[in-house]
Amino acid sequence: MSMHSYINIVITMIKLLGIISLALLVDGIFRKLLARTQNRIGPPITQSFYDIIKLFGKKRSDSKGYKNILFKTIPFLYFISTCSLFLFVLGIAKFEFDFIMLIYMIILSSALYILLGLVSNSPFGAFGSMRDMLLMICYEIIMTISLFSFIIYSDVLTLSEMNESWLILKLPIASLCLFVVALVETRITPFDTAEAEAEIMGSIETEYSGGNLGFIGLSRQLRFLFFVILLTRLLFNPSEILSFILFSVLIFFVLLFNEATTARYKADQTFSLLIIILILSVIEFIRLYFVVW
């Protein structure tokens, strides 16, 4: 490899580190603002950094699934797969039909999360995984159809070439579907069914501790940031960096509003709602057939 390639790798790593820091900061702001809306003082916005540092400094507890090699490795794989999502939305990795790879990576990341629960040898983890699997059947299809709707309407082959702005007005139903998927993927009410702590405790994460839990926590924060950026890119796609930040903040506040003002649906209720959203996304896709071709 040439010197230029090494420099590129270093720059990419620095960018990813920046993204991780940003994700932690965004999570801290989210927690603080949520606390303020709930009439609480809340933690400082740097609390997420402290949490992660503390988790990585802790020993792993003696869990039932600890002897399983998958139990030890999957949190790291989940973290890596979540990090790799940013390679696409930030334009670090760009090639023809890269959006297919992006969809694949999102599904892989979700599948690894489900696997976390299954290998943890805990009834709560298995139950959380079962619920997530049930929902994944629906929401990943909705996401794929909605993403294809955006790509087909924009008539581009790579994500970085997308130059259509304000697609939220041109593809309102697909935008709505994608927003609902973002709520499910980021575990925001009313769709945080897979993590309902009142009935299944820590759900998929029940048996994890120390660094492994740190990786899972980091991945969760990265996924939140990823969906904020993805929604801003697809729904508004502003050309200037300042307007990009402004629209990202808008999406952030809409997600925060949802978390603060709604209760949690049950698994079957979420599933029924996602079926309706799935039908809507298919209708939008069929509508596109007449609009584009």
Binding site: R131, E197, A198, E199, K266, A267
Partner: protein, 385 residues
């Protein structure tokens, strides 16, 4: 044969006290629910035996952290019955005031946790903020925010003055305003309604058969309000309604408790308006040679029953039947053939308080044995996990 077993408890975020429900699942549907108690047994009844009346009163009001006054009031009533003593009207009014304030704070706390059970944490936090107003009233009127040790045999420890009355009325006005706006949320929020309507239905016949008490029974249309059926303290002088529901689901139980808060505010306004003039009697030492009596009070969760037997000014036997003891029996039936997602909502909708309820079963079988419920079932009923 069930394909999956899920333990809820003894340590679980949906339970504020340790208890265990073992669920046998068929997919997401519960086929069997077994309730295991005995994690928080304190032996209160045994602890009370042999104590002097003043000491026993101190213990009785610490049986529950949410409805401590109702316990001291129930116990006090048995003592006053034995003494054949009718307290002055002002004492009765002050006792009723604290009872109703306790009902408000208990219901608000319950509602907060109920919202928390299905993920509506903002409402949970708002309700805790509102409960703080009642705790401030308690602090001012009784000196204690949680254990308001205001009861004494024949009297109350503190009187209230005009400044206290003004303070209470101001605080109640704030709570009333908030609750009217919350009522709008309950009636319109779709997710809340979807999570609560038709969940954990208790029909009127079931409520009667299981001898349910309190708001849980009233939500099913079964009225057993002790304040109306066997009026005590200042209730005979008051004009109020027992809030009734019909459908008997978790949503009705929530609505009934919401309306009960507003009704309690109405009762307190009447109490403060009609508060009799005069002094409260000073507390004196009492002596009871021998006697036994029973009493019933309407605690926030329902009927609280006390049986007390005294000999030479010491308690010979105390039997306490807390409201949770009456409502907990229906829980395994309610949990059958429902989804796991409904468990926290149903469990919380009957407002259980395990720490006041836990009892042991004493079996005299030549030699004396003391067993908890689980051990009793295991040994004598061929009951296996």
């Amino acid at each position: 044969m069930h394909d999956f077993s899920l333990p809820i408890g003894p340590i679980n975020p949906s339970m504020k006290e340790p208890t265990c429900i073992k669920l046998s699942l068929d997919g997401d549907i519960i086929r069997e629910a077994k309730l295991q108690l005995g994690y928080i047994h304190k032996g209160v009844e045994h602890l009370l035996e042999g104590k002097r009346i003043e000491q026993a009163l101190y213990i009785a009001q610490r049986i529950c952290g949410i409805c401590s006054f109702c316990h001291s009031n129930g116990f006090n009533q048995t003592i006053e019955k034995m003494l054949d003593y009718d307290p002055p009207k002002r004492v009765k009014f002050i006792r009723t005031l604290v009872t109703e304030l306790e009902r408000i704070q208990s219901h608000i706390l319950w509602m907060g946790f109920m919202f928390h059970e299905f993920g509506f944490n903002t409402m949970f936090q708002y309700l805790l903020r509102d409960r703080e107003h009642i705790l401030e009233i308690f602090e001012r009127v009784t000196g204690g925010r949680v254990h308001h040790a205001i009861n004494k045999p024949k009297t109350v420890r503190y009187d209230i003055d005009e400044k206290d009355i003004k303070f209470i009325l101001e605080k109640l006005k704030i709570i009333e305003l908030q609750f009217n706006s919350y009522m709008g949320i309950i009636k319109t929020d779709k997710v809340t309604k979807d999570r609560l309507i038709n969940v954990g239905i208790i029909k009127k016949q079931q409520a009667k058969r299981y001898c349910l008490v309190g708001p849980t029974a009233r939500a099913s249309g079964f009225n057993n309000d002790i304040r109306k059926k066997h009026p005590y303290d200042a209730y005979p002088y008051l004009d109020f309604d027992s809030i009734m529901g019909e459908h008997g689901d978790a949503y009705t139980r929530l609505s009934v408790r919401f309306m009960e808060v507003l009704e309690s505010i109405k009762i307190i306004r009447q109490l403060l308006r009609d508060l009799p003039e005069g002094e409260i009697p000073k507390a004196n030492l009492i002596f009871i040679e021998e006697g036994m009596a029973t009493s019933q009070v309407e605690a926030p969760r329902g009927e609280n029953f006390y049986f007390t037997a005294v000999k030479e000014n010491k308690l010979e036997r105390v039997k306490i039947r807390t409201p949770t003891f009456a409502v907990i029996n229906i829980l395994p039936t309610l949990l059958e053939n429902i989804e796991v997602g409904d468990v926290p909502v149903i469990l919380h909708s009957i407002d259980p308080c395990f720490s006041c309820m836990e009892r042991v079963i004493v079996v005299n079988d030549k030699k004396r044995e003391v067993l908890d419920e689980h051990a009793f079932l295991h040994k004598y009923c061929n009951h296996h996990d």
